[in-house]
């Protein structure tokens, strides 16, 4: 992968940990739906042959020297993308739950709306995606919590299927939550008065591997994310409040 050359350069990043069974399918599917777009798999020190499978499928691999967790893994991808000069980055999970056929829609929304982040959401429109009862309850809770903080509703705050532009990329290269980053990342962006949009996306059930969030970890997850949100709300930048918000011409998106 060389440096990004055109002003609309897109990179698809795929954080992966022990996803030997699914990663090749994900990479091939991305290549099929967005041909010519480079795919960067960030391997979080997998014990299996994830790296080999990703390379054989045609992806570039950023191999971390030890297990950093999801946030550290994604941030490494953001840092490299920022260094290489990419304008847009879309994150797709390596377990095959996100459908790469939605990437063009997220990319188009990123370009046309001018907002800093676009979330692929299971709940903007009814699309047949199913979530477990505990997770569904958690999502409802965080929707309610985030509504007043973000100033607009977010339907799927735990979705990892997100696209960011270079402005957000610059912020995330410097500051990114290390564990369970999705919800905290929204608050990080909101603190800088950045905007987000949601586009409806389908999500498939996981076919191989295991989710990092088990039922036992759910309570810790809620506590940890609540703390993260609280801490980020405290990091209130008064200068950002006073600064005028940049709205691209023709954008009706709010946030």
């Amino acid at each position: 992968m060389t440096r990004a050359a055109n002003p609309d350069s897109l990179l698809v990043i795929v954080p992966a940990f022990n996803e030997q069974g699914a990663i090749a399918g994900v990479v091939q599917s991305v290549h099929q739906h967005v041909p010519g777009v480079p795919v960067l798999v960030i391997d979080d020190c997998s014990a299996d042959d994830t790296i080999l499978a990703a390379r054989q499928a045609g992806a570039e691999v950023l191999a971390l020297p030890y297990h950093l967790g999801l946030g550290g893994c994604v941030q490494a991808g953001y840092k490299l993308a920022y260094e290489l000069g990419f304008e847009y980055v879309i994150r797709v999970d390596g377990d095959g739950q996100h459908d790469p056929c939605d990437i063009p829609r997220i990319f188009e929304k990123l370009r046309s709306s001018g907002c800093e982040m676009v979330i692929g959401s299971r709940f903007v429109a009814e699309n047949g995606s199913r979530t477990g009862a505990v997770r569904s309850l958690g999502i409802r809770f965080f929707r309610l919590l985030l509504r007043p903080i973000l100033g607009k509703p977010v339907h799927d705050p735990t979705s990892g299927f997100v696209g960011v532009n270079r402005k957000a990329l610059g912020v995330f290269s410097r500051t990114f939550p290390l564990e369970y980053p999705e919800i905290e990342a929204l608050v990080v962006l909101q603190r800088r008065r950045f905007r987000f949009e949601e586009v409806p996306c389908a999500m498939h059930p996981r076919t191989t591997g295991r989710s990092s969030i088990t039922a036992l970890k759910s309570l810790y997850y809620i506590f940890h994310v609540l703390m993260g949100v609280f801490v980020n709300v405290l990091k209130f930048d008064r200068r950002a409040l006073r600064a005028p918000r940049h709205r691209p011409p023709g954008s009706g998106a709010g946030g």
């Binding site: 992968m1 570039e60 691999v61 950023l62 191999a63 971390l64 020297p65 030890y66 950093l68 550290g72 941030q75 490494a76 840092k79 490299l80 260094e83 290390l178």
Partner: protein, 120 residues
Amino acid sequence: MDHLLNVTTGLSIVLLIIVLVSVRRAHIRVEYSVSWLIATSAMLVLSRARPVLDAVRRLIGLPDTPLTLFLLAGGVLLIMFFRFSVIISHLRDDNIALAQRVAILEYHLRSFKNHEKQEA
């Protein structure tokens, strides 16, 4: 009461020796041993100087001297735990940034080698 103060004195001396030996053997870096040395020295002084301990007890307004000693020890330990949590958090952040940098440099190195191979 005197027996308790003797026990505290003994513990403080043992801890002081352990810290000094650890520093000498480079098990603890000097900058991280300072808090322990100050804490153990303070405990030693307080457990040997009864009038000082009584003065502290009156200042805080506690009913008895042993409670004062243990409250002070607990307070010092809490402060030290907090200080070490801050240090660990900084180290973890630095460590993660370093690991990401290593991965990115390895990526560039690999790309460079591949590019050289193709040119050759």
